[in-house]
Subunit: 422 residues, 2 copies
């Protein structure tokens, strides 16, 4: 059995673009980590014929088909029937799942309508994964060398069910391990990074080396395949040292292993840098409106370093809460290094933090001028050694959200560099 | 020509789950709005053979194949070659695209490496969409009744290029219009909404009626197909009145038309409600860490109503900046309606806002107790008429991020209700 997997998502809301397919990204990441090869992902709508086609086609290429969505209680939830038909078995009531659903509604204090019990119907011969995060149970069914795994569509149920129930079940099938190490680079473009790394990438087979351009950084992903995680880790480490010895080395600000670490690399590095210095932080935000603070509070357990801050969207707040002098606002404007410096110093004072950061800029789409265009953002960092300021002019092609996200990343890097100097 | 579309995304990073396929959701939403039927979405990796298979299979079902990704300058960018091979044409240098790329790098002040110019190679006979948001141009090529549209993968380029360049080009092909109206319901579950609406849904063909469960709400999507948008609008309006006349009516807090409006329905309704009252708002956040303010600042042009606020993550900030009495923190704790009330009153005073809101809770995963479990969140709203408080206990199955997102939605609804009373 070669364990080739495909992910098949079922839902007209995906075809209509009403929701983003985060389930597939999550499952794909876990399958890769488990060492299950996967070469295709498919989405179909709530249509019996097209779903049946997609199941048949999926099994013509893959051994394991992971289906998400269409397990709910409504009449357009058709996945179980389609899978039962493919395997030629009837749907039967699973008494444990039925009891679970009744309990779930009792515990939530919500009224259970009759259609909710349809969620306890499963293809005959299925293994049932209990749903501790919602009501529809997950299902696995194997016939011959083909296995279908059915998961509920809502990400808040699909993700933990996959991680906690399906993974241990799949891991037994897998003989080998895949392990990835990411190097996170700031202030260098993908093309330049690839031009530098080309000689290494062309020779690298196991581990492989590949660059990925993200919004605010470039990641170099080093992936090893081997018998054990430990063996893969060593292979990745050795390759990482080779990569870091090139011209990209100085751009690398941190490394990550898991998808979660990789997504949060910059904020995790900031938190680590603050902890190393035993520094608390206070934040003053104008155009980013609280996004910097939110990103920090995304990470559990930051209360030792994150005091809080002030969202000074309106100039009145800059003056009255942060104590930015009216003359600075008049003479230089709210988007100026002078204002940023006063905001950082003000929030450091107001919060009593060891270090403070401020962001003030023009996120757009309106409000730009010739002199201060949309995408111009000023930053300041202030601690006992003084206050430093910077101005960035993000690509005028960037939209409001992107300017704000790039600003948060830039402010975090400014802090990381200051905290890691000498 | 029936204009059936499929979206084919190319990128090993999608198969590995490194990134979420937001391009497909965006394009799918726009295709639906344009009235182009689409029954399948596919993802393949950077592999010549599997991409060629997917292109052939896609064209066996669809007339228009929209491909995203694999247009970049690196050696694993293979989409153009695969499409050129399918149509049996060579890749040729497009001089306009070449000049564009050179300009782009000059303007950005970044070094252009030789491989960047590979982005100006296009299949012979292509229509080229200039890329005003990045470097790789988009491409459309038609042979007989099959059309391929190639777009760059980064969402910050793919989305505006599709909206601004590809849509007008596609719209000419489309004879009919699809129009959707969403009704946004709060405080009712999907099963209950569907049970109520079942008789309507079963009869409804055009317009169709379908419920979608989102994290914090249920949306009823009414979709009409017709000759003109105006005609569709009227059909949807009539059906909306039928739906609102049922028991779900009282749960509907707003309506939306575009994907952007639908995603931001709750914050847009809040902003509208504040503007109607000519109220400015101040925000005090503990566990949400600035997420409420960020959501408001996501919307362009809110400076007339959004003053700002205080992120009081640490109790010191609650006391020193917001003036929450130490006795309240000692006697009731930071997660209490008493503390929430003092936070809202404090931030109203500090910011000088007409109305203020506060959020303080236990987002988890740690910090919960028997009496105050993870998921318990207290809220307060304060204006000249006084201060109201509420406590929510979100499902203990919810994770940290979800508790925080649900808290923001709940606080917004609390404000919307207060602002729209009498």
């Amino acid at each position: 059995m070669s364990n080739i997997c495909e992910i098949l998502s079922v839902g007209t809301e995906l075809l209509l673009g009403d929701i983003v397919n985060t389930d597939t990204a999550f499952i794909a990441g876990r399958l890769a980590a488990l060492g299950f090869p996967s070469y295709r992902q498919t989405v179909v709508g709530d249509n019996d014929c097209r779903l049946a086609d997609a199941i048949r086609e999926g099994f013509s290429r893959a051994d394991i088909l992971i289906l998400t969505g269409g397990l709910g209680p409504t009449c357009d939830d058709i996945t179980k029937k389609a899978v039962a038909d493919y395997f030629g078995v009837p749907l039967v009531m699973d008494e444990d799942a039925k009891a679970d659903i009744e309990n779930y509604f009792r515990e939530m204090g919500r009224v259970m309508t009759e259609n909710n019990l349809l969620q306890a119907l499963v293809p005959e011969g299925s293994h049932v994964f209990p749903n501790r995060w919602g009501s529809a149970p997950g299902i696995a069914i194997t016939k011959g060398d083909k296995t279908a795994v059915l998961l509920p569509g809502p990400p808040s149920e699909c993700e933990p069910m996959f991680a906690n129930e399906v993974e241990p079940w799949l891991a037994e099938r897998s003989g080998c391990t895949l392990f990835s190490l990411n190097l996170h680079l700031y202030d260098i473009g993908e093309s330049r990074a690839e031009a530098i790394l080309k000689p290494i990438m062309e020779k690298a087979v196991n581990p492989s080396v590949a660059p990925y351009a993200c919004e605010h950084e470039v990641r170099i992903r080093i992936t090893a395949r081997g018998k054990t995680e430990e063996e893969c880790r060593l292979m990745c480490r050795e390759m990482a040292e080779t990569v870091l010895a090139t011209e990209v080395g100085p751009y690398c600000y941190t490394e990550s292993v898991t998808v979660w670490e990789s997504k949060n690399a910059i904020v995790l590095k900031l938190i680590e840098s603050l902890r190393n210095k035993k520094y608390t932080i206070g934040i003053a935000e104008s155009c980013t409106g609280g996004m910097f603070s939110t990103r920090m509070a995304d990470i559990p357990g930051v209360s030792d370093i994150l005091l809080g801050g002030v969202v000074a969207y309106d100039n009145r707040i800059k003056e009255q809460v942060l104590g930015v002098p009216g003359e600075i606002l008049e003479k230089y404007g709210a988007v100026s290094e002078e204002c940023a410096a006063a905001m950082a110093e003000g929030v450091r004072k107001v919060t009593g933090a060891d270090i403070a950061v401020s962001i003030t800029g023009i996120a757009g789409p309106d409000g730009g001028t010739e002199e201060k265009p949309v995408g111009m953002v000023c930053f300041a960092v202030s601690d006992e050694n003084g206050t430093a300021t910077e101005t960035a002019r993000f690509n005028r092609k960037a939209d409001r959200s992107k300017v704000r996200r790039l600003s948060v990343a830039r402010a975090m890097m400014m802090l990381i560099r200051r905290l890691n100097t000498k």
